[in-house]
Symmetry: C2
Subunit: 255 residues, 2 copies
DNA sequence: CGACTATTTGACGCCAGTCAACACCGGTGG
DNA sequence: CCACCGGTGTTGACTGGCGTCAAATAGTCG
């Protein structure tokens, strides 16, 4: 998949990528059939983007927001000396820049960690939702609040957890999020990213991540190999990471 | 100010705390008089809370959101060993838990760093705004997106900036935010918090913060003393911290 | 095969943490 | 008036977790 492909046709209702995005919302509140229809019809087109390419560059004026249908992406920012920090890891079903709807420009880049498939949602459609579908609008708002909660937990991780717990925490969080999207097995999930990506997400170096992954493997907690995570000891991992999923707000209630 | 005081009277229109919150929104978009009125009237009551007390505890079910009218507060979380991480520093005019409106419970605590005055806004009033004032609702949504942007920048800071730049960055950011709220002088602003608080915000220890503050002072960049920050060399600070205020989205445009 | 990227491992260095002692300061009470 | 006290700030000596540098190995794609 070397270059971007544009498909101008409207989304079929049963696209599995869109289904994952709906699953994410349905896990937090009840959507009416009407709301689901509006959500699906807000999508203008889909594209495919190859791994390691930028999806959105910081600072450009935006007219669409992007829903990640397949693959892995991230929000990141670089410092002058080339140091990169991944601010959030995105899985299929995540809106990678819904906040661009109101911020108008992003203060960070969005990049594809794997080959990805995305959907473009015009800001006009989002604005119409805020004016005609207040409940659906609240759920979209909620979805940006969920990103913020995930980012807050990352602050705690990087600021106060040691390197081992930091990595374990990222693995735990991603496991639950993949489960919600219907993309995880009972004890495993695909994670086709590099150790350098994990390092950039955790504020560490790739060398140290390698050592800590080895320790997690040697201690029988988990294995990360060939783009797949296998959980050997969930309770052990949760305990090590002090992982408390409350911040993922995985409860269905009126919002 | 030893205990909480409840004032049941409705806010006067010209309360300076509310004015700061409006200034924050006006810096990003134009509000109609009608919208300003609805914003002001959404406030049910005000309270005063003493320094070092909790304002909101993680996990409790919320029926109101809290606007900080005066003083300094923070969002924070603790780990089992007692390590604390401040996830966001709040200044007067900030909504400290507007996200609680849709999350229903907070995944973190909110604490008063100084004596504070707060306003309570019922979630019912916020819901009504989403149903009757879509533009004002978008501005409230925007205000939560701004918090998220600030938190993302904190991730970059803690993950990739060294301790000196990390502290300098926090000082720069807070300076601009205080300016927007009308609370900063040309080269100084009040910051009545401890070095331990700065350490908890930056993912450092109080001892190391002390050393770095000394260095910033010795290098003629800034002074933090007796609850006040004095900027000696703004350009130098900005350069050291690689501070780029883009993420504060300080541009007035239709949202 | 050859070029390239990602992973792995070892040796060594440094930034920030830890531990400890002391200074300072406002408040409190004898 | 001063002794006391807890919270905060300051400084020095030492430690250690993670980074840096370097090199070998493994995996992948044309």
């Amino acid at each position: 998949m070397a270059r971007t492909v544009i498909r101008a046709d409207r989304m079929p209702v049963k696209d599995p990528g869109v289904e994952r995005a709906l699953a994410k919302l349905r896990a937090r509140d009840v959507l009416s059939p009407e709301e689901e229809r509006v959500f699906v019809e807000s999508i203008a087109e889909t594209r495919e983007i190859a791994a390691h390419r930028q999806i959105v560059r910081a600072g450009t004026t935006l007219t669409h927001s992007i829903l990640l249908l397949d693959g892995f992406a991230c929000r990141y920012k670089d410092l002058a000396d080339g140091e990169r920090q991944i601010q959030e890891l995105h899985i299929a079903g995540d809106y990678v820049d819904l906040h661009g709807f109101l911020l108008k420009t992003l203060d960070h880049n969005v990049g594809a960690l794997s080959d990805v498939r995305i959907a473009l949602v015009p800001h006009d459609a989002l604005r119409a939702i805020t004016e005609q579908q207040p409940h659906l609008a609240r759920l979209l708002w909620f979805s940006t609040l969920l990103d913020a909660a995930i980012q807050r937990e990352r602050i705690l991780s990087i600021g106060r957890r040691n390197s081992l717990a930091r990595i374990a925490h990222l693995i735990c969080e991603t496991f639950l999020r993949m489960k919600v999207a219907g993309l995880a097995g009972p004890d495993r999930y695909p994670l086709p990213i590099t150790q350098t990506d994990i390092a950039d997400a955790c504020g560490l170096t790739a060398v140290h991540v390698n050592r800590m992954l080895r320790r997690l493997r040697d201690d029988g907690l988990m294995t990360f190999r060939a783009g797949e995570v296998v959980i050997h000891d969930w309770d052990g991992l949760v305990h090590l990471a002090e992982f408390d999923p409350t911040y993922l707000h995985l409860d269905r209630r009126p919002r």
